[in-house]
Symmetry: C2
Subunit: 636 residues, 2 copies
Amino acid sequence: MRKEFRDLADPEEAHEAIASLDLRPADEVVPLREARGRVLAERVDAALDVPGFDRASVDGYALRARDTFGADEADPARLDLVGEVHAGVEPAVEVGDGECAEISTGAVLPAGADAVVMVERTDIEGDQVLVRTSLAPGDFVMFAGADVAAGERALGPGTVLTPREIGLLSALGVDEVPVRGRPTVAIVSTGDELVRPGEPLNADVGQIYDVNSYTTATAVEEAGGEARLYPHAGDDYEAMERLLREAAVECDLVLSSGSTSASAVDVIYRVVEEGGELLLHGVAVKPGKPMLIGRLEGSAYVGLPGYPVSALTIFRAFVAPAIREAAGLPEPRTATVEGAMAVRERYDEGRLRYMPVGLVTDGDGETLVYPVDKGSGATTSLVEADGIVAVEPDVAYLDVGERVEVQLFSTEGRPPRVFGAGEDDPALSRLLDDVARPRYLGVGTREGLRRLRDGVTDVAVAAGDLAVAAGDVDDGRLPADAVELGGWTREWGLVVPGGNPAGVEGLADLVDRDLRFVNRTTDAGLRRTLEASLDELATERGQDRADLLEAIDGYEYAVRAHESPARKVRSGAADAGLGLRATAEALGMAFVPCGVEPVRVYVAASRREKPGVLELATAVERAETVLDDLAGYASD
Amino acid sequence: MRKEFRDLADPEEAHEAIASLDLRPADEVVPLREARGRVLAERVDAALDVPGFDRASVDGYALRARDTFGADEADPARLDLVGEVHAGVEPAVEVGDGECAEISTGAVLPAGADAVVMVERTDIEGDQVLVRTSLAPGDFVMFAGADVAAGERALGPGTVLTPREIGLLSALGVDEVPVRGRPTVAIVSTGDELVRPGEPLNADVGQIYDVNSYTTATAVEEAGGEARLYPHAGDDYEAMERLLREAAVECDLVLSSGSTSASAVDVIYRVVEEGGELLLHGVAVKPGKPMLIGRLEGSAYVGLPGYPVSALTIFRAFVAPAIREAAGLPEPRTATVEGAMAVRERYDEGRLRYMPVGLVTDGDGETLVYPVDKGSGATTSLVEADGIVAVEPDVAYLDVGERVEVQLFSTEGRPPRVFGAGEDDPALSRLLDDVARPRYLGVGTREGLRRLRDGVTDVAVAAGDLAVAAGDVDDGRLPADAVELGGWTREWGLVVPGGNPAGVEGLADLVDRDLRFVNRTTDAGLRRTLEASLDELATERGQDRADLLEAIDGYEYAVRAHESPARKVRSGAADAGLGLRATAEALGMAFVPCGVEPVRVYVAASRREKPGVLELATAVERAETVLDDLAGYASD
């Protein structure tokens, strides 16, 4: 039967177990041209002088300084011009007493000369050069080795190679650089239900696309490792053992990830326990209880949890630091960010928790931190989760305003420029295309307004009767300080198959005829609009409301997003779905109009001047162009 | 003759001229696996539901919720176990009234079931499952589309693809992503004197290694462009024209860089003016006066200054933002950093100045900013220059403590963990290998102590008589608050060719015999030690000091670094050079000992607890291992 985890290890033990594994690959030599971001493995001392010769540092004339003694504007020194020297050419001239030679910046100082005068301080008179200033030996000459001298320390081991280090190595003529190797990381994806993106998916047998493999591979590369994806293994012991051993032989670290299936975890457990060394199974940390650490074929092995956000969390907290260490890379400046809790978060599980959080900036540009994903396992949480906050076991709650440090999932991570939540609406979706770095959660009108009231989001989008006028706030449906950015109307009704084969004419048909209906979930503003219309119908007919709803087959069959009912209809699962004219048009289906509902965009007053909000406001003002393209949409 | 620049353009005009150029390449499609860091070109809406089926979200039993009504610990519901469903397999069982089926996390909910009970809340009794809790329909079921619903907005255009976005696209089954193209940038290096790293260098004809090509190429790649290096062109018109046109046809932007030669600049100027469109030549900004902006073959053309730091400066201020814009990339969070001026900096040139600066952290972790490279053109300035500060034309000076914003040369840029300056010493060089991210400038003892007094550096390394005991500070040679970290002694003398063919026996030979000598420059502590010994010799002999020095052939022939005199001797340019026993040994030469001098490491008291200083202190404490390896070195 299913294997139960043994005593959970302390998170510190998990860090130590990973630290005890040897992920460090051999150093390697790379061409300078490909060395960007790599880490120098050894000290590089200069093997030559830079410049390698005494060099003019201006355009002018090479001369003997003593010949210019006492010269000035009024009383120039007169020197015979005896030749010229260009950069990259061996001087064919020698400079004697009372002589000079034209010289270009960078050219070799000719024999006999010990200084250069800038062309701006000279005049030509026949074959003579008038030098209108006095010079000292060495003036405007860069002596050999003055820049870098042979034998000097140039760069030390551990230096990250950025443009300027590449420049210094270029100056030294170095074209191959000894660098730290990048640890190779095998990504082994388990679970019979997983299909790699791009391959056909059969939902009937419960297949889903593999999220963790590419996510983890990308995170490995951000941390300085080299990720290799291995083909899916089934859950049987022999196939898994073969695959894991092969991966372990070929890579410095094996990460298994992807399966939520306990049997796959059991198989891996056995392979590592029997074929290698199991250091640790189960860590007292949330998430990550099922984490597994061991050795196989002399390589390191770490098993990540199956939920995408949990897998990234454990990767960020335990594995990324180990990969960076093995690659010789410092923790990047952008790996963490500080912020203040936007909401109060209770916690009393008695063990360390890595709390996935999202970031948002308030009106003053301060970073706020809010918890996301309470273990739902949803992929969409990935979009909202910017990183994790470590909450110690003895912390009972985090208060609003409390400072926390966020370990970001990506060094590219940063708060969205505008953060909104609310109704799922095709016009809004297009308007967001004109806003840089927005985050929008289609959680429905009611939830969108709630989040605005909670002070987390900048913007709420409401549809239906909750899209009240901005002045109309006393009923508490809107935050007291909400400002309206604008809005539009959209035509709603029943989406039916192309040609409307059942001849549906309106809502009454749902009640009176034998039609299968698909509804939206109660969070949608559109659902409330439907309810209001059905209430009217009940009143008109003098019928009991509950009886009327009962008569609609599928009224409780509710799906989440604006296209979902229509797609159910298209798949043949129903005859009519609640939806928009725009959706019917987009999916090539027929539409039975039932009415027009308002959609309004609200913003918290304190966030009104955020750059991202200003951008969204501009987009909303110019909404016509988008609305014109969408059937059934109109300006408010 | 040489072409003079026309009226200098305003920096704003230069930004506008670059903005008017079209660097934006066509969008492209890349495999998801290679999409990290790329920028989404179009909105991606979900084309399918995630999950695509109703899915168990725990391991347990699929059942009909109404069969568990009223069940609890004491009074469980008893259901017949009729089969099992695993993830990735089509359910072969249907669940009827009073029945249940074992189900794994992620498996398809079998027909008839509407909820799942966790295995932890059940017991097995024969063929029956005891369910010790009541369930509602939908409990522990993730409905099709609950995570992402088909038709929902997934990601917008302009999104930078990090692990989590890659994860979301994976979930949607997307394996090819439309992304913004990377602008291709041709790097054209000019100047007959430039040699590419790795190729042989002939210093006699004034050749130097090309620094700007690789530096600029690396910076282009950091900014999100794709750099292509073109072969060197000579300074003649036809060759240059052919090369520039070819580069312009093949790339979105051509950057010329590398030459300090006015003639090469002239040729480029003519090619762009005659074959394309010259928008601007010469900008009122320091450095960068010679900057050139134009169009050629429909592509953009920008000419950078020749000095490495100046080239990077103009690249950072004008070109990097344009490349990022063309690539659709936001300015990275790490592109700028704020700090306080460490020293007062006068300025009154009346035009915008991009001042190259270095960064250092003080004892409180605050970032300090100090000016570097006053136009010397030195490659080594690259190592000290972390970025630039824009100083407006009307600013007369920047005061100590004034807040400035630094535009970093690299997004990887950050202050050194320990910053020292002073004597060039092989033991120190090795000790620094054990310190993470040090910056050390071998500017000599005197200058090192001066910088420590100025409050810029953390550490000074002094040799010779300036390496006084730390308590002995009243003479002003040490900053009042300097703390000694430790030190060692090194044997100095004359480095002569192997076997000492001239039979040099000591300093007196330099005075009395016809020997060519090579000295160190006056900044070296070692030079002062030599001076003191020669003073003693003069006193012993009752000879005038000046006469004695005059008698040494080459006393004024001074070179910069610790190996430089020895290398001159080895090249045959001299018979004896001032140096260390360790150097003679390292270069396989003979050594005539003259004495032992102390080397001491001092740190500013306020910086004593900086992590980098602590690391250096540990390295100095453990210096023996390094000293044992170096001839003539000993513990202090």
